[in-house]
């Protein structure tokens, strides 16, 4: 257990983070009145967010070990444990999750008119399982919470979704389920190939499995994570799910659920199957590039705002996987940062789409053309988030994309160069959307009577805008917590020495 630093004091903060939303969810059933239920959900998520903040301040960024650890035996017969802990890779993802949830509640305030209690129940339930995914250090527990996210999401899409919600929800569910079942097989195979048998994730790392075994395990993991991310040929569930999901569902889906895939790469593929990772790297890099370009071109052709952003996600996540698999510190840290950024920016964009949809009841670009004239505050927010999404310098995505591409150039100039058109495309489709919404054409649909954002909506968007610029201009507080863990991760993958300043390694020969 030397990989785990147990939590100090008597409060198991990670468990508390998971239990708070869960308990809040079940308590919803004794709370009468939709309004109270909304306030209750808001309160629970806010308290969870507040409780999660000390994680950052008490995080020890000098060690790669898992912190705030908890360890209890769960199924002794199989040595399955309830092990929690976070390191530099998961810390920010946990914080992002807790931060986004109150915003998801806020954005559903008016959007959700039926079955409010059940909706909030799903939201809180999914928060618990998402946090569990990022905190779990035991494979069985991880798999359980990983799959558990599907059920609330299935309902979020299926019950409160758009016209083709049934198709979208079932496709989402089956697609992601199909991806992850093989992962379970791989997990069990790992268990038996390790001596002593264990499901403890950190203990499975660096075991030096045989090369062929690594490849099989990698493929099983890859399928699960690539579908979740989604990487290029496995992305077809995403636009359907995004378009049909309610705003909060889209936000959660884009901001957190997709990150679970890339998190999986970082946490499992790289350290557990390093040899296979290195073998498959070229293919994955090219898949990432394909995803970047495909996402960009497809987004350019969309007229539905949500679809546009959904496809842009495919492109952005392509950058993340590119950053992960260049396997150098700057690329990895960039990928990790991009995961956070994508959560913030794309989440915010989905919130924006939801806000306009509540007013005009359409997400069509042409029908929403020219609302900028009537909603100046709204388009200001939209503009900043769009710029962030196209990696405008000074915003969060730029710094991450910069790092990823720097890592890419350090790895292979060809691949990085091929990814560059993705950056251009991002600018193209985002500016196209922005142009349509803010300006429209010479003849715009009439939008008189549209009200600009109210305080609740501004409060929903403002924290995200703050983060856009904070990360964009001063990313150090976010990057500092990653260094030790990323360095350790790379050490596990290709034997790079830990503690080397991340930048020193990027020099080309």
């Amino acid at each position: 257990m030397d990989f785990l630093i147990l939590h100090d004091g008597w409060l198991p903060i990670l468990s508390i983070l998971m239990i708070l939303p869960l308990a809040g969810a079940f308590l919803l059933f004794v709370i009468p009145g939709e309004n109270f239920q909304k306030y209750w959900a808001l309160g629970v998520t806010t308290v969870t967010a507040a409780v999660s903040l000390p994680l950052y301040f008490r995080f020890d960024s000098t060690t790669y070990k898992y912190q705030f650890g908890e360890h209890h035996s769960w199924i002794p017969a199989l040595d399955v444990n309830y092990t929690l802990g976070i390191d530099g890779i998961s810390l920010l993802l946990v914080l992002m999750t807790t931060l986004l949830m109150p915003l998801c509640v806020l954005c559903s305030w008016r959007y959700i008119t039926t079955k409010v209690r059940e909706f909030m129940f799903c939201l809180l339930l999914i928060e618990t399982s998402m946090l569990g995914v990022f905190m779990a250090l035991d494979f069985v527990f991880f798999y359980i919470v990983w799959e558990a996210t599907l059920i609330p999401m299935f309902f979020l899409i299926g019950v409160w979704g758009g016209e083709r919600k049934i198709y979208a929800s079932i496709k989402f569910f089956l697609y992601t389920l199909a991806g992850s079942v093989l992962m379970l097989v791989a997990i069990i195979a790992l268990y038996f190939n390790t001596d002593p048998h264990t499901f403890s994730i950190p203990l499975l790392m660096g075991q030096g499995y045989s090369s062929i075994f690594q490849k099989w395990v990698f493929v099983a993991f890859f399928l699960a994570f690539a579908i979740k991310v989604p990487m290029f040929p496995f992305h077809t569930w995403l636009p359907a799910a995004h378009v049909q999901a309610p705003t909060a569902g889209s936000v959660i889906l884009a901001s957190v659920l997709l990150k679970m895939g890339t998190y999986g790469f970082l946490r499992f593929c790289l350290p557990i199957t390093p040899a296979a990772t290195v073998t498959f790297t070229p293919f994955i890099l090219w898949l990432s590039v394909a995803g970047i370009l495909y996402g960009g071109f497809t987004a350019l052709a969309q007229s539905d705002m949500k679809k546009l952003i959904a496809y842009s996600s495919v492109g952005h996540m392509g950058f993340v996987t590119l950053g992960i698999f260049v396997l150098n510190p700057i690329g990895l840290e960039g990928a990790l940062l991009q995961m956070i950024n994508h959560g913030i920016t794309t989440g915010a964009l989905f919130l924006c789409v939801g806000m306009i949809y509540e007013r005009t009841h359409t997400r069509d670009l042409d029908l929403n053309a020219g609302v900028g004239q009537y909603m100046p505050v709204y388009v200001t927010f939209l503009a900043f988030f769009s710029l962030s999404s196209l990696a405008f310098p000074g915003t969060n995505s730029f710094i991450a994309e910069f790092m990823i591409l720097a890592g890419g150039f350090a790895k292979s100039k060809l691949i990085a160069t091929c990814a560059i058109p993705g950056a251009i495309l991002a600018a193209a489709y985002m500016l196209r959307m922005l142009q349509k919404i803010v300006w429209g054409g010479t003849e715009n649909p009439t939008h008189t009577g549209l009200s600009d954002l109210n305080t609740r909506e501004i409060v929903t968007l403002a924290p995200l805008l703050l983060l856009v610029f904070w990360i964009g201009l001063a990313p150090k507080p976010f990057l500092n917590v990653m260094h030790a863990s990323v360095a350790h991760l790379l050490e596990q993958v290709n034997g790079l020495q830990a503690g080397v300043a991340p930048m020193a390694k990027i020099m080309l020969p």
């Binding site: 002794p76 799959e147 299926g158 019950v159 929800s169 089956l174 379970l184 097989v185 195979a189």
Partner: protein
């Protein structure tokens, strides 16, 4: 092992639960004759079952009647599963019989006799005893299936079940006789020694005998390709009996299969292992794929039950204690989730509709949110989606099968479990995503409430604390 233990009264004490049930069964017939209060029967049955359950855990391990009847941890576990199944069935029956206007006192006594038969099967240390128990169970079951005399489906089911059952019994007997002819014994513990000492490991006649026995049990398990009777019988039988059939006799058949294959023929695992693997995959494939096409929930659950037999076979397949305990654990969990699902099905059954068609579930979440939510949990559990107990059960099976090296079989199992998610989700879709055409009036009864609460407690408990049942199953095997 060959020492003959004479019949003594103390031998009877090892059969306490069986004797209790037997007397309750007879008592039921008597009470039915003289007492007009219909409610007395189910509660008497339930009480008898509970007493048997309590006695079960207070019976010490023993081998009685000259190795013919074994009371060990293994049999106790399976008896527990059977008794839980019966208990559920009784609780569900109370209201169901009223709706179906099925006022037969013999319903409960048949149920009890069927249970006694299963318990005999489970404890059978000799193929003959196994056969006896099996027949007692089967004959009772044939009657139970046909109890809805007015319903032609029920009649058809009963007849079909009987014919198929008789056929499989024939095969079983033939198989047993072959084995006996080669080894000179029907005693399972002696059998394994003889197989080795007589060097019969690769004897074709023995394998044919074993194959015939296997086929007979596959009939009972409703494992493909011997499952054809199952959907029709399950659909035609009274719903409570369907629930019962899908759980208890199946568990008993698994118990025997485990005992015969692992205890009696453990050394020829290389021969029956691939066969079981093939049957398991085929069962899962046919069960799951056929279930997709069903419009009737009851029939869908019938196919799903076929598929679940395939999953449970994964543990047998492993051919070791680990696998066997995984199967036991799974059957126990399956009892709860399947009973839960049938409880909802019966709950929605009223005079106007049978609650069997998928359309009956349209918009259930709106008309009866609690029932929908419970059904949801049972369905997700049946689909084996975390964090439900069904996943835990499946997980152990996979662990065992992978440990034994059947990776391909496991991968197939996983693929079909995704397929199964589709049809379970379809029910969820009907319940939650579609709107109701009509109001559903649900009348609860104490028995139904008790059944649902019990099933729910079991589900949640086994999901959060999955350890105890598995370790119980594991411990049951130690003295084996």
């Amino acid at each position: 092992m060959n020492t003959f233990s004479p019949f003594t009264l103390s031998s009877l004490s090892s059969m306490g639960p069986e004797l209790v049930l037997l007397s309750v069964g007879i008592l039921l017939i008597v009470v039915d004759l003289f007492c007009k209060n219909r409610l007395l029967l189910p509660w008497l049955t339930a009480a008898g079952t509970l007493v048997a359950l309590v006695l079960l855990f207070n019976t010490s391990s023993a081998t009685v009647f000259g190795n013919m009847y074994i009371v060990d941890g293994y049999s106790v576990f399976f008896k527990m599963v059977c008794l839980v199944g019966v208990l559920f069935t009784v609780l569900l029956s109370e209201r169901y019989l009223e709706i179906e206007k099925l006022h037969h006192g013999e319903y409960y006594s048949l149920l009890i006799f069927c249970t006694v038969g299963m318990m005999a099967m489970v404890s059978g240390g000799d193929l003959i005893v196994v056969y006896l128990g099996l027949e007692l169970m089967a004959l009772s079951a044939y009657c139970l299936v046909g109890l809805l005399k007015q319903d032609s489906r029920s009649n058809e089911a009963s007849l079909k079940y009987f014919l198929m059952g008789a056929f499989s019994t024939g095969l079983l007997l033939y198989g047993i006789s072959l084995i006996y002819g080669l080894t000179g014994t029907t005693d399972l513990s002696v059998l394994s020694e003889r197989v080795v000492s007589l060097d019969l490991m690769n004897n074709h006649a023995l394998l044919v005998g074993l194959g015939l026995v296997l086929v007979a049990f596959c009939f009972k398990l409703a494992a493909a390709p011997f499952h054809m009777w199952a959907p029709d019988v399950y659909e035609g039988a009274p719903s409570s009996i369907t629930a019962f059939l899908a759980v208890a006799p199946k568990a008993a058949a698994f118990a025997v299969l485990g005992r015969v294959l692992i205890m009696g023929f453990g050394d020829v695992h290389i021969h029956w292992g691939p066969l079981i693997a093939f049957i398991a995959v085929l069962t899962m494939a046919i069960g799951n794929i056929a279930a997709i096409a069903q419009k009737s929930l009851k029939r869908m659950l019938a196919y799903s039950s076929v598929a679940h037999a395939g999953y449970a076979l994964l543990g047998i397949l492993a051919g070791n204690n680990e696998g066997l305990s995984a199967t036991m654990n799974y059957l126990f969990i399956y009892a709860f989730m399947n009973m839960g699902a049938f409880a909802i099905l019966i709950m929605l059954c009223d005079n106007k509709r049978r609650g069997e068609q998928l359309d009956d579930y349209r918009g259930l979440a709106k008309t009866n949110p609690l029932a929908a939510a419970l059904m949801l949990v049972f369905l997700f559990s049946l689909a084996g989606i975390p964090p439900t107990a069904g996943f835990i059960g499946k997980f152990y099976l996979l662990v065992a099968a992978i440990h034994a090296g059947y990776i391909v079989t496991v991968v197939a199992a996983m693929v079909f479990s995704v397929v199964s998610a589709y049809y379970y989700l379809r029910v969820v879709r009907y319940m939650y995503f579609e709107n109701a055409e009509q109001e559903t009036a649900v009348s609860m009864s104490p028995g139904m409430t008790a059944a649902l609460v019990l099933a729910m407690i079991g589900m949640v408990g086994m999901a959060i604390f999955p350890g105890p049942i598995l370790s119980f199953a594991g411990k049951s095997l130690i003295g084996y």
